[in-house]
Structure formats: structure tokens, C-alpha cells
């Protein structure tokens, strides 16, 4: 029987699939993106919360903001440092981070997330007014 060749061919195909990321990337470095800060953000120095918190939990913060504004009508957020923010995606986040393409998008492309927010919320509030 020539089953042996068939089995080895199957094994080779399987291993090619398993090791797909290795030969696809071919050692090409893919460093994490560096979000660019706008002059305004630089002047503010700090984000709404600590950088670590923002890096991993900004989506949840936005979710809480949305809930608070849309359901409870409360628009003022006070961070642990006692600083007040208007809870708004376009008017607060994108005020400091008005360079969405070099900031939010760069990171999101890397992590393969496509927030659906922008089908309603304005991406560039400054341009509009």
C-alpha cells in the first residue's frame, strides 16, 4: 500500500498549518505601535486615569461613561485625583487625542479591534466646528 506517502503528506500539511505564523512572518519584527501624543495631551501630561489603567481598561471606562450619560444623565466624571471631566467620547477623549489615526487607530489595528462607535460618533470634532 502507498498509504505511507499519503500519511506523511498529511503530516507535512498539518505541520505547515501549525507553524503558519512562523513562516508567514519570516522573522519580520512587528513592534508595538507608539501612540503619538498631541501637543495638547502633552501639555496636560496625564490622561483621565493612570496610563496603565488607560492602556488596558479605556474601553471599559468608555462603557461606564456611556451608561452614565445615556441612562443616568450624569455627565461629569471625577477621577481619583479629583479632576473633573465631561464624559464624552468625541469632546473629551478626542479633544486631547485629536489625532485619532495616529493614536487610537494605530493601536487598534495592531490589536485587531474595530470599535463600532464611529458609525455614530464624530471622529474629528474640531474639524466639524
Amino acid at each position: 500500500m502507498n498509504n505511507k506517502t499519503l500519511i506523511i503528506a498529511g503530516l507535512v500539511i498539518f505541520l505547515i498549518i501549525v507553524l503558519f505564523p512562523f513562516w508567514y512572518m519570516r522573522g519580520k519584527a512587528a513592534p508595538a505601535p507608539e501612540p503619538v501624543l498631541t501637543p495638547m495631551a502633552k501639555a496636560a501630561q496625564a490622561c483621565v486615569r493612570s496610563t496603565e489603567y488607560m492602556k488596558s481598561e479605556h474601553m471599559q471606562l468608555l462603557d461606564v461613561w456611556r451608561e452614565s450619560v445615556v441612562r443616568d444623565g450624569k455627565r461629569i466624571y471625577v477621577n481619583p485625583q479629583g479632576k473633573e471631566f465631561n464624559m464624552s467620547l468625541s469632546n473629551t477623549c478626542l479633544d486631547c487625542h485629536s489625532n485619532k489615526a495616529e493614536f487610537c487607530d494605530r493601536c487598534h489595528d495592531y490589536a485587531s479591534v474595530r470599535p463600532y462607535c464611529w458609525s455614530c460618533h464624530i471622529e474629528n470634532p474640531k474639524e466639524k466646528t
Binding site: K55, Q60, S112
Partner: protein, 363 residues
């Protein structure tokens, strides 16, 4: 307490503690994040190849027609093509149905005594449903994880992510927040299915009776993988960008341990490494083995085609007919039964008549 599942459970808890505590030590992060994953992958690849090559050397059995339908034989008997394939193309269909839809699990029945002594056989589909949910959820989770190993992320992976996260929900309480990042249902289906597969072993006593530690261990391990993954994404919120930096480092052979990677991540990747290294030496090899199922992957054409043993050589035979021809007189004398009584041969004329008759019968 049943040692068959307590020992694997303790093993998984110990593995968890090793990774969780080990990740707190700065130097050990490199071991858990880089060294062990590489070693595990090497073990997986070599072990898998070793096992499959071992199988490829074993003898191919005769065709085993374990079928649920008629073989191809006479024209007026309806041939059941995909249960009893007569050519390679039909075998491919049978194999595809088996591998993609777990058809033999679909045939599960349960025997029950009804109204006293009446036996009834009922379809038993829970295992089939659970297995389908488990394997397909696992597949989707695997494909989705390619976003950590490829940059830029391919379109197919994005498509699967979009489909998987179509289900939007929002639960916001001060202590429990859920909704963003978007919910991938495959992870929860996987967790539920693996729990079901475990509970089944625990509560169906026939299955419990045949379950051993190596049945429970992968279930616990996969449960741990799914739970740590869900925990990391929705509860402790790992920094995804940092994690991708780490995994891309592995894939491009420039390993780094970026700052800000949570201990839960190290638990997750340690569990996955253990699963990979354990894989080739366990029942999980049915991933490769299913393709070699001898009752599924051979044509069942034993009625259409005669199997000639390839190492047959001509053997001088002495058939019974020839034997009787040789010893008929003696047998009759000894009173042994014979197929053909010798002609009494009193008259000369009929004897010549009987000879061609005898030859006819021989044929």
C-alpha cells in the same frame, strides 16, 4: 472521593500555582513567557510527527465493513454510498462527514427498559451536540488567536472576530462590568461545553466507570485555559498591546517580555504550553488519529471486488472431489458415506452412459 479525577484536578491546580507564583518573580517571567512556550511547541511538533510516523508503519488491516447501510453488491440492492463507500470519492465524503460533523457520535443510542421488560433504543444526542460545540468553539478560538501571532492581522481572522463578537451586551454594576471589549461568544461556548463534557463523565455512571485520569486531565486543563482567557479579557483586563508584543516576539524569534503583562497571562500561556507538550502523548492525538480510522477510511467493496492475498503462491491442492474419486471404493467398503455411490456396473451399456453424467456433476 475518586482519585481518577482528584489527581488531575490537583495537578492542574498545582500547575496554576506554579505559573501564578512564578510570574511574580521577575527573572522567571522569561522562563514562563519564552522558554517554556518554545520547548512546548518543539515537543508538540516532534511528538506529533513521531506518533504519526509510527502509525504510518503499522500494517493496514483488512477492510472492516462496520456499516449502517448496504454494501454495493447486486443491482437490485440499494447501495448506501456514504455508509458503505465503494470508491475513493465516496470514502472522502464519509471521512469528511465524520471529521466535520462527528457522524458516528450522532448515531449514539441509549438502551432503556420501558414498561417492565420492553427494550427501547433512543437517540442520545447530547454528546454529539456537546462535542460539536466544544470542537467548533475551540477552532474559532484558535483562529481568533492568530491576531496575536500575525501582523498585520489577515482579513479572515478579522471576519471571524466580527462574526464571533456580533452579540453585544452590556452589564454595568460597580463591581461587575461587562460589554466592552466586545464579547466573543466562542470563549463562553467553549467553557460551557468543556464543563458539560466533564459533568457527563461525572454523572453518567457508565461513562464514569470507564473514565480514567487521562480523560479528566485534558478537560481540566482546557477548562483552565478557557477560564484564564476569559478572566484576562473581561475581568483583570490585560494590556493587549503588551501581550501582542510578547507573542509577536516569539513568532519572529526576537523574544521580549514587555512591562505590564499580567500574571493571569502567564498562567494562560503556561496552561497552553502544558497542553501542547502533553498533546502528542495523550488521547488528544485523535486529531491526527481520526484520519486513520480503519473503519472509516477504507472503501467497503468486499462484495464487489475479490481480495486476493498479495503474498499468495500457487499451492497444490487435493479437493474433496478428487479425494473421493481416489478412495471411493475403499470408503464404500469401510461403510463411510460418499457423495456419489459407485455405479453397481452390472450391465456394460449403461456404464458408458453414466460417465459423461459424472463429469457434468463435477463441474
Amino acid at each position: 472521593m475518586n482519585l481518577r479525577y482528584t489527581i488531575p484536578l490537583i495537578a492542574v491546580i498545582v500547575l496554576f500555582l506554579i505559573a501564578f507564583l512564578g510570574a511574580q518573580v521577575p527573572g522567571l517571567q522569561y522562563v514562563f513567557g519564552v522558554v517554556i512556550p518554545y520547548l512546548a511547541l518543539i515537543t508538540f511538533v516532534l511528538g506529533f510527527a513521531y506518533r504519526v510516523i509510527g502509525w504510518s508503519r503499522s500494517a493496514v488491516p483488512f477492510k472492516i465493513p462496520t456499516t449502517a447501510g448496504q454494501q454495493k453488491s447486486l443491482p437490485w440492492i440499494k447501495h448506501s454510498k456514504f455508509d458503505c463507500p465503494a470508491n475513493t470519492w465516496q470514502v472522502v465524503v464519509r471521512m469528511a462527514l465524520e471529521i466535520l460533523t462527528f457522524r458516528s457520535l450522532f448515531r449514539n443510542t441509549r438502551m432503556k427498559l420501558k414498561e417492565g421488560a420492553r427494550i427501547s433504543y433512543q437517540l442520545e444526542l447530547f454528546l454529539w451536540v456537546g462535542a460539536l460545540a466544544f470542537h467548533y468553539a475551540f477552532l474559532v478560538v484558535l483562529i481568533r488567536h492568530l491576531r496575536f501571532f500575525i501582523e498585520p492581522v489577515p482579513f479572515v481572522v478579522q471576519l471571524i472576530e466580527n462574526v464571533d463578537s456580533f452579540f453585544r451586551m452590556e452589564i454595568i454594576y460597580p463591581v461587575f462590568k461587562f460589554g466592552l471589549p466586545g464579547v466573543f461568544i466562542s470563549g463562553f461556548v467553549l467553557l460551557a461545553a468543556v464543563s458539560y463534557l466533564f459533568l457527563r463523565r461525572l454523572f453518567v455512571h457508565q461513562v464514569k466507570y470507564i473514565s480514567i485520569a487521562s480523560d479528566y486531565f485534558p478537560l481540566f486543563l482546557i477548562f483552565g485555559i478557557a477560564l484564564s482567557g476569559i478572566f484576562m479579557r473581561y475581568v483583570t483586563k490585560v494590556d493587549v498591546t503588551a501581550v501582542k508584543e510578547l507573542t509577536m516576539g516569539l513568532v519572529t524569534f526576537q523574544p521580549t517580555i514587555p512591562a505590564g503583562v499580567d500574571a493571569v497571562f502567564f498562567v494562560h500561556i503556561f496552561f497552553v504550553s502544558i497542553l501542547l507538550a502533553y498533546f502528542p502523548f495523550s488521547k488528544l492525538m485523535h486529531l491526527g488519529g481520526v484520519f486513520l480510522s480503519p473503519t472509516r477510511n477504507m472503501t467497503t467493496d468486499t462484495r464487489v471486488r475479490r481480495h486476493i492475498n498479495p503474498w499468495n503462491y500457487p499451492v497444490p491442492v487435493h479437493t474433496y472431489d478428487e479425494y473421493e474419486d481416489e478412495f471411493r471404493e475403499k470408503m464404500v467398503e469401510a461403510g463411510l458415506p460418499v457423495e456419489k455411490m459407485p455405479q453397481p456396473a452390472p450391465a456394460e451399456e449403461p456404464a458408458s452412459d453414466s460417465e459423461p453424467e459424472q463429469e457434468e456433476q463435477k463441474e
